[in-house]
């Protein structure tokens, strides 16, 4: 029964976000602040993960393609499609669920426990609209951008590993990248990125906003938010792949 209760409260929270802002300027300021936190705050980890994922993909693909009949440029094609279809959107979003998701849950949880949310309510501010909406909007803008950056860096990381380890030359890798490219894959990856962005921002916001208790509960809510977000990302990944591919 708790799960249905939680789903109901989650939907009410989402509904509660849609109201006329008390002051558009303040909401915009909060939105920009969240863009900075979610976007630039996660850029470093996203860059590192993407480069290494691309590099490892190149080496492992080369390791498995032992037939001399398969041209080396195929490695680039496989790395490109793997990074675009799965690694950049899914893996990066799972990492972001940990980085940005836990930050959102603990920030809202701390505000709840220290009565800062109550203070905003008393002032006559719709806290769901002011605190949650800008976070979701910022995630919907910044996370797909991070995914695009992850795609580019992942592919570049693959090239770097390929040339440095002597698996294939840069020219062959570049040639392989352009062969059999399906632009729909990018559309699919961005669709996934948007769905995952919503999960990454709204689920932790829910757990943080409704936290009860003290510091221990904030930690628990944060962990739960990350775990639930990751499970939902993997579930949504499967559903979207089954529907769109």
């Amino acid at each position: 029964m708790t799960i249905f209760n939680d789903i109901g409260r989650y939907l009410l929270m989402i509904k509660g976000m849609f109201s006329k802002p008390e002051n558009g300027k303040m909401y915009w300021k909060e939105f920009i602040h969240q863009c900075t936190e979610i976007g630039f705050g996660s850029l470093g980890i996203v860059a590192i993960i993407s480069v290494f994922i691309g590099a490892v993909s190149t080496i492992q693909t080369a390791y498995q393609l032992v037939s001399p009949l398969i041209p080396p440029s195929t490695i680039a094609q496989i790395v490109r499609d793997t990074v675009i279809l799965e690694f950049a959107p899914t893996l990066v979003c799972i990492v972001l669920a940990g980085v940005a998701g836990s930050r959102i849950a603990s920030e809202l949880g701390n505000m709840r426990v220290s009565e800062q949310i109550d203070a905003l309510e008393i002032m006559g501010i719709n806290t769901k609209a002011y605190l949650i909406m800008p976070k979701i909007a910022a995630a919907l803008l910044m996370i797909p951008l991070l995914v695009v950056i992850a795609m580019a860096l992942g592919i570049w990381g693959g090239r770097l590993a390929g040339t440095m380890s002597g698996i294939l030359s840069g020219n062959i890798y570049d040639k392989g990248l352009l062969e059999f490219f399906v632009p729909y894959n990018v559309f699919f990856a961005l669709t996934k990125a948007y769905v995952f962005s919503f999960i990454i921002s709204s689920i932790p916001a829910f757990y943080g906003y409704y936290v009860k208790g003290g510091a221990l509960e904030i930690g628990r809510a944060s962990t739960k938010a990350v775990v639930v977000s990751c499970i939902l990302i993997l579930f949504a990944d499967y559903i979207l792949s089954a529907l769109l591919l």
Binding site: M26, E115, A119, M123, G124
Partner: protein
């Protein structure tokens, strides 16, 4: 003026507030007192709208707040200031931005006008020059004063204070109490203070509502407390020997006799009298 009519509130079937009615007048400090768990915080949260009462009404200057929806409620809330137990200052903002926050949200004043107002309220709470400090850099008493400044920055008609003295030393508590009292009179606010600090009751209480197990057990003025025959109230207020003695002294002044069975000799004994200085001889 705030009218509370037959408020009831329960959580998971457990009744926390049971049919409480009262009237809180403007220009005076209305105190809700009671032991921990007596329901005073829940009552205050029902009055300000943080909790939805199961039944009953709260009227702000005759307007039924509990029956209001969205926009109307927001308009009333703009007239409410609240000082929270833990101050509830926004950690990521400095003092100036904390106090300026309601001004930024609800006014279209220039930055200069807003800054002037911030400095004005900071001076009012005797805390000038701390504009750029962050909440983490302030002491408990300073945080309370900044929170009070933020609560009054929009000139509210109603001021709510939840345990304003919790965690503060007696001297700082007195400063906060006096500030609340002065501000209440100065701006003719309806102030509602939630407390179990007896010094506050005696210092600022104009009207006192005593809660016991979710019920209104007693209400009256500070002076009425001294002469009250309500046993539960007396047990709560005069729980300490010191306050009991203070009451007896007051009774002696007012009526010339002490109605209970306490031994005045004990009170007036130099060695055991509560205000006797500590023995310096050893």
């Amino acid at each position: 003026m705030i009218e509370v009519k037959n408020i009831k509130k329960s959580f998971d079937g457990k009744v926390v507030i049971e049919d409480v009615s009262t009237v809180m007048k403007a220009g005076q400090c209305n105190l809700i007192i009671g032991t921990s768990g007596s329901g005073k915080t829940v009552l205050q949260k029902c009055i300000v709208g943080l909790f939805e009462p199961d039944s009953g009404e709260v009227l702000y200057s005759g307007n039924n707040f509990t029956a209001m929806k969205g926009e109307e409620k927001t308009e009333i809330r703009k007239e409410i200031g609240m000082l929270f137990q833990g101050s509830a200052l926004f950690d990521s903002l400095n003092v100036e931005d904390n106090i300026m926050f309601p001004l930024n949200m609800f006014t279209h004043n220039t930055h200069k006008q807003k800054l002037d107002r911030v400095n004005e309220v900071l001076n009012r709470v005797n805390l000038p020059g701390v504009n750029k400090k962050f909440p983490a850099e302030l002491s408990g008493g300073m945080k309370k004063r900044v929170a009070l400044a933020r609560a009054i920055v929009l000139n509210p008609k109603y001021l709510f204070c939840d345990e304003p003295n919790s965690g503060l030393d007696p001297q700082t508590s007195l400063v906060i109490d006096k500030l609340i009292k002065e501000i209440t009179i100065e701006f003719n606010m309806t102030t509602v203070v939630n407390t179990h600090d007896m010094n506050s009751v005696m210092e600022i209480g104009d009207y006192i509502l005593y809660m016991y197990q979710g019920r209104k057990e007693w209400e009256g003025s500070k002076k009425d407390i001294i002469f009250s025959k309500n046993q539960l109230l007396n047990e709560f207020i005069f729980a300490s020997e010191f306050l009991q003695d203070a009451k007896d002294m007051r009774m002696l002044e007012e009526t010339g006799k002490i109605p209970n069975h306490r031994n005045m000799d004990l009170m007036l004994d130099k060695d055991t009298a509560p205000l006797a200085p500590p023995d310096q001889g050893e």
